[in-house]
């Protein structure tokens, strides 16, 4: 064990007091697993041969065989366990503390859902084992589709897409297929400037040209702005509601009318569905397609970057285009329907991220209709609480009641030479994961805070206090922010060097 870094003249005692748990932890070093390798070690050896051992050279031509395993490590089981245990200790998750990463809905991930997803009855099923051996799995999928239809107010759902972005692609391809089927392909899609980057990227992949529109001064899209650009060559509008400023797109019904009049579709990016459950149903607002992010709204863990799941809900008109296979129910029997001639095809092998569906299904069953509504309400309440309590301290570009998240900027702190990045890094010293920063792009230096419904009032208060302290420090001791974070395992990471001198893998040292 060796100490990593000195305090660098920063008042660690004060930070310690401010921190949620008051401990500093052991700063243990941990080499790369390859650097721990020792010839001849095996962590978990495979079973013994109960059949004659095959001589690879006899059954496979030499030219197909490899000479060695290159730099594969050789480590003992205890090495593996300590290695990953230590790595985990350098991480911050929802279970570590408040994770107000805007647009990502970092809510609590219930433990029971993990236990259920790991049951052999769900985890030990082969995708080709046949419908008669998989009735429970099919029933779960069928019911989850029904629940998501009810929550969104749509007519049909596919659970296949692996994540929100793949769901977007799925929805857009369905729209394209619809127009192509009618002999009038459309080439464009309207996307507001507040959109997630995935929206234009998915549109491009689906073959559409992006027509950007500006949100008006109050941070929302207007029907008039859409009217100006919506034409018979435009497949529709891709709208996020609530948008990435945390504001409800109040014109949505009128926008839908404008789009529908020109024969287009209204696509809603459902990334922010956590604010809407049980409060509005997108189908009632005129939405035709929406993708949901089960790893946001429906509490499935984010896994350090996935796996997620991005089901897509559609109106009846688009139902024939959903990916294959669909789950259907005949009498009491569930089965897959592969014969769907107008389907866009498939976006992945098999049926979707089933283990994630199990978790989302469990969440919905546990919450019930009252619970889901309460979750949305509490998420909105918490975001408004933070907005109101911090609005004198940080610049709030859009001062109206927000939905599940609120967006500040670094405008007040800029004159002291302090940027959003510094504020974010300083928050780490106080024991919090920083909010989403520099997004949405329409707010320079944006700080996007989404507290979610699963945090206590005490946690919110401590976070608010930390933010206020940081604002004080920005005025009186800006170097504290510039040098933050001070008590993490590594200090501020040099991302420029990573890009200028790329090292994208470990390499064995060449023999002397």
């Amino acid at each position: 064990m060796k100490p990593r870094r000195k305090g660098q003249g920063i008042d660690l005692e004060k930070i310690k007091k401010m921190k949620a748990n008051g401990t500093k932890g052991l700063h243990l070093d941990e080499a790369l697993i390859f650097e721990r390798s020792c010839e001849g070690r095996i962590g978990v050896a495979p079973s013994r041969f109960d059949v004659p051992a095959c001589d690879a050279e006899k059954s496979i031509p030499r030219k197909y065989l490899r000479d060695d395993m290159g730099g594969f490590p050789e480590v003992a089981e205890i090495d593996v366990v300590r290695h990953y245990t230590r790595l985990s200790q350098w991480n911050f998750g929802v279970d570590s503390g408040l994770y107000p990463l805007g647009s990502c809905t970092m809510k609590y991930n219930p433990k029971i859902n993990e236990e259920i997803a790991a049951l052999p009855g769900f985890s030990r099923l082969h995708p080709y084992q046949g419908e008669e051996l998989s009735q429970g799995a099919l029933e779960l999928m069928f019911q989850l589709e029904e629940y998501l239809c009810e929550i969104t107010g749509m007519d049909a759902v596919t659970l296949q897409p692996s994540a929100g972005a793949q769901g977007e692609l799925c929805g857009l391809l369905m729209m394209a297929a619809f127009f192509k089927d009618r002999g009038k392909p459309r080439t464009k899609i309207i996307i507001p400037d507040t959109a997630h980057g995935t929206n234009p990227a998915s549109s491009h992949l689906a073959g559409f040209k992006v027509v950007p529109v500006k949100s008006e001064g109050r941070g929302a899209l207007t029907a008039n702005a859409v009217k100006d650009v919506m034409d018979a060559d435009t497949a529709g509008v891709m709208l996020t509601n609530p948008n990435t400023l945390g504001l409800f797109e109040a014109d949505i019904k009128e926008i839908a009318d404008v789009v529908h009049k020109k024969g287009g579709f209204l696509y809603c990016d459902g990334a922010n569905m956590n604010a809407l459950m049980g409060i509005v149903r997108l189908g009632d607002l005129g939405v035709d397609v929406v993708q949901l992010n089960l790893h946001k709204t429906f509490s499935t863990p984010h896994g350090g970057g996935g796996p997620g799941s991005g089901p897509v809900a559609v109106r009846k008109t688009l139902e024939p285009y959903l990916p294959v296979p669909r789950v259907r129910k005949r009498g009491k029997k569930y089965s897959f329907d592969f014969k769907r001639p107008r389907s866009i095809g498939r976006l992945k092998a098999f049926y979707g991220n089933f283990a994630i569906m199990v978790r989302a299904y469990s969440y919905i069953r546990r919450m019930g209709p009252e619970g889901l509504k309460r979750a949305a309400e509490a998420a909105i309440l918490n975001a408004n609480y933070i907005k109101e309590r911090l609005k004198g301290t940080f610049d709030l570009p859009f001062d109206r009641p927000c939905m599940h998240e609120c967006v500040f900027s670094d405008k007040v702190q800029q004159p002291n030479g302090v940027s959003t990045m510094d504020i974010a890094k300083r928050l780490i010293d106080y024991g919090y994961h920083p909010p989403t920063v520099y997004f949405p792009l329409v707010v320079p230096g944006a700080i996007m805070i989404e507290p979610t419904e699963t945090e206590t009032l005490e946690t919110l208060d401590r976070f608010i206090e930390a933010m206020k302290n940081i604002a004080d420090e920005a005025r009186n001791a800006p170097e504290l922010l510039k040098n933050a974070p001070a008590n993490t395992r590594v200090g501020r990471v040099d991302e420029t060097k990573a890009a200028r001198e790329p090292v994208l893998r470990w390499k064995a040292k060449p023999p002397l």
Binding site: S37, A45, F49, V51, S59, P61, R66, M69, F72, P73, V80, S88, W90, N91, F92, N109, G121, L125, H126, P127, L133, A137, E139, Q166, A176, H196, G197, T198, A201, A206, V210, I252, D284, L285, P301, H302, G304, G306, G308, K348, F354, A355, I356, S362, R365, M367, P369, K373, L381, N382, P401, E453, L457, R492, D494, K497, A498, A499, V503, L504
Partner: protein, 449 residues
């Protein structure tokens, strides 16, 4: 309410402090007429205990590959997962974190992914691997799109022995950009993609996508295929759906492949009825700016300590928007972590021995099945842990009889290849004991007699 800690008093307190008398006051931005009246039509909420028993009941309505002897592969492989994988990946510091946007508090995820990237490179013999994609099928689609960007060409050639669902996925992904996707016939005797037969189609093609071992379990002659496609200025994309084979087989990078993609489920990821699995992508150095997906790089912090962070982000959707290399954002990080833990637990020696064990199991079973009267080998190319057999008539009656004996005897290939109406694809891994295989062979002999 579950998972919502606020008491009624908390609600009131917060409402008062934001100057609202009810939640409705905060919903002023949502036009009154659009709001849902009443509750959603969903089943009433359950206690944790009720939920646990309801879902256990539902799970019991499925049959698992432990209750049956399964000889299914075809892109999803039943392998033993060491306990350490689940135990370590279940550490919630890993699984309740998100994409490591803030490197200072995400060094665990970042170093683990950096190591995963290295393991994929070592396994495939390629230069650079990304942090993961969704699954093998979408990885194949991303590779085809990438080859189009690199070559500036349109035509994509798919081996006819590429997993049928992968072929469908590639076609779906390429719908938007139009262009030309062609499926190549395979050698009916070898069961492989024939290098000589593709030379005409290779002209002007962006890439050839070929699976190895292929969907029939047969080994493809990657070097010869690379020769043909390279001579025509296109790229060779190798798809590996059973990476355990790479403990024995020459890595694609040493066989002339430009992009290696595929499915890593075999390492550390449960069968899960088809997902989530783990798409991997590994490439030659020169294509790195055209690669989709997250990428972790090594750098240092301000004091010069080794540190890791996401890098080359300008390729990605959140910066380049419609000009990005892909729309992918969330990938399959936790699946990559589990694969890495499994790979390092095996290590060099363990993986080579596991690979040999799989080869031996399949060889044993193949010999036993081919000894049965009326059962023939479908193809003559060498295989790894999966192979196709041909019966004298349609396989469904025999498969049904086996099922009644507790055996899932493999995949009837007619489902994907109309002409292969007497063929079964059979897979054996370390999970299939000799007794089990003997029982399978004995029952199979009865079933086809």
């Amino acid at each position: 309410m579950p998972y919502i800690p606020h008491t009624e008093k908390d609600f009131e307190k917060i409402l008062a402090s934001v100057g609202a008398s009810s939640i409705d006051d905060l919903l002023k931005g949502v036009p009154e007429g659009l709001r849902l009246r009443g509750l959603l039509g969903l089943p009433e909420g359950l206690s944790e205990q009720e939920l646990a028993s309801a879902l256990k009941r539902l799970g019991r309505r499925n049959s698992t590959v432990d209750e049956y002897s399964s000889f299914l592969g075809a892109g999803a492989y039943n392998h033993y997962i060491p306990s350490a994988v689940r135990s370590l990946a279940s550490r919630s510091e890993f699984f309740t974190a998100y994409t490591p946007y803030q490197p200072e508090i995400s060094q665990g995820t970042l170093q683990a992914i950096f190591e995963y990237q290295t393991l994929v490179c070592e396994l495939t013999g390629m230069d650079v691997a990304n942090a993961s994609l969704y699954d093998g099928a979408s990885a194949a689609a991303e590779a085809a799109l990438m080859a189009r960007r690199i070559t500036g060409r349109d035509k994509v050639l798919l081996s006819g022995v590429l997993h049928p669902e992968y072929r469908e996925t590639v076609k779906t992904y390429l719908r938007g950009s139009g262009g030309d996707v062609r499926e190549l016939p395979f050698g009916t005797e070898s069961g492989t993609t024939i290098p000589d037969a593709i030379s005409v189609e290779s002209r002007g093609a962006a890439c050839l996508v070929v699976q190895h071992p292929n969907f029939f379990g047969c080994l493809e002659d990657l070097e010869a295929l690379a020769g043909v496609i390279h001579a025509n200025g296109g790229l060779l994309i190798a798809v590996v759906t059973e990476p355990v084979s790479l403990g024995l087989l020459k890595p694609p990078g040493e066989s002339g492949c430009d992009i290696a993609v595929g499915e890593m489920q075999s390492f550390g990821n449960a069968l899960n009825f088809g997902g989530p699995y783990l798409g991997f992508m590994a490439i030659k150095n020169e294509f790195v700016r055209q690669m989709p997906g997250r990428l972790v790089g090594q750098t240092s912090d301000r004091s010069g300590n080794r540190a890791f962070c996401l890098t080359f982000a300008t390729r990605e959707q959140h910066i380049r928007r419609e000009k990005a290399t892909s729309n992918i954002c969330t990938n399959h990080g936790l699946c990559a972590l589990m694969a890495a833990i499994h790979m390092v637990s095996l290590g060099k020696g363990g993986l080579m021995s596991l690979s040999r064990l799989n080869l031996s199991k399949a060889a044993y079973l193949r010999e036993r099945l081919l000894a049965i009267d009326g059962v023939r080998a479908a193809f003559d190319a060498p295989v790894f842990n999966e192979f196709a057999i041909t019966l004298g008539s349609g396989p469904q009656p025999a498969l049904r009889k086996l099922l009644r004996k507790g055996i899932i005897g493999g995949l009837a290939l007619e489902r994907f290849y109309a002409a292969l109406d007497r063929h079964i694809l059979v897979c054996a891994t370390e999970m299939n004991s000799r007794e089990e295989m003997d029982f399978f062979a004995d029952e199979f002999a009865k079933a086809v007699s």
